[in-house]
């Protein structure tokens, strides 16, 4: 069972309190109705499945209830960073740094 640091609770909490919520930083445009079919397909359906670093959303569903973002390594299952919803995506440099 993983321990996940909830950025809202500022603490490590057992995985049993959390739910994964898919890939992070997928922008749902405000003018969505005007998107092309291709753009909508890319936004809604197409997901990465990387071997390595993934940026994903989690919800502290049985804790504070907040959605947040995480940088996780899919091979080691290690959480490199968690941060609040709305905060910017970590830069590639930062991710490289986190992996050290």
């Amino acid at each position: 069972m993983l321990l996940i640091n909830c950025p809202y609770c500022e603490d490590d909490r057992p995985e049993l309190e959390f739910a994964n919520a898919g890939e992070a930083h997928i922008h749902r445009p405000k003018d969505m109705a005007d998107m092309s079919d291709e753009a909508f397909e890319a936004m809604f359906f197409i997901r990465d499945n990387p071997k390595g670093v993934i940026l994903e959303r989690w919800r502290h569903a049985h804790g504070c209830g907040r959605f947040f973002n995480a940088v996780r390594h899919t091979v080691s299952d290690k959480f490199l960073k968690t941060y609040m919803a709305g905060e910017p995506r970590p830069s590639d440099d930062e991710i490289t740094e986190l992996m050290k």
């Binding site: 809202y8 500022e10 049993l16 309190e17 049985h62 804790g63 504070c64 209830g65």
Partner: protein
């Protein structure tokens, strides 16, 4: 035609009491509860009207005169009034800064008390409930087996456990099974 008699309140945990010398589980009296979701501004003003400083820190709580407020999330508090079991705490006038929703009857509650209390809870709750990690006054939403619960440590060896009322048979059964194995 005369109005029928006023209905009486019955909690699902009524009559539940258990003790084995190491741990006791007892039912909490009916209470008034609200779920407060609010902006910081809303939380401050609501706290004033309640006479309580709402906790701002994760897992924090505040208590005064039978009322207590538990931090559940950055914009969410569980407020319980043990003394006034049927007074709605929902303000009469709407605020743009908060949502107060009466959940007095949504939850039921037990007190788990005694030297075996931590062990009983840790049979099905993965959290570190030691006094150093979860001191008196700590409150948190977490899980107990397959039920979501709110734990509030009221004393060194006493926890209040709140849960949705329909989970009562499950929570009660699991507490009893766990209590049998709490003496070590």
């Amino acid at each position: 035609m005369a109005k029928p008699a006023i209905a009486l309140r019955h909690t699902p945990t009524e009559g539940h009491n258990f003790a084995n010398g190491v741990v006791s589980v007892s039912t909490a009296a009916p209470a008034s509860r609200i779920s407060l979701r609010a902006t910081p501004l809303g939380a401050n003003s609501f706290g004033k009207s309640l006479g309580l400083d709402l906790p701002k820190k994760p897992s924090g709580s505040a208590a005064k005169g039978g009322k207590f407020a538990l931090w559940l999330g950055p914009d969410e508090w569980l407020i319980i009034d043990e003394k006034n079991q049927d007074i709605s705490l929902v303000p009469k006038t709407a605020s743009t800064q908060l949502s107060a929703v009466d959940i007095s009857h949504r939850n039921a509650a037990y007190f788990i008390s005694g030297n075996g209390a931590e062990n009983t809870l840790n049979a099905a709750c993965p959290r570190n409930l030691s006094l150093s990690e979860f001191p008196v006054g700590s409150a948190t939403r977490t899980i107990f087996g397959k039920a979501e619960v709110v734990l509030y440590r009221t004393q060194n060896n006493t926890f209040r456990m709140e849960f949705w009322r329909s989970f009562t048979p499950y929570v009660w059964g699991l507490l009893l099974d766990a209590a049998r194995d709490s003496n070590n």
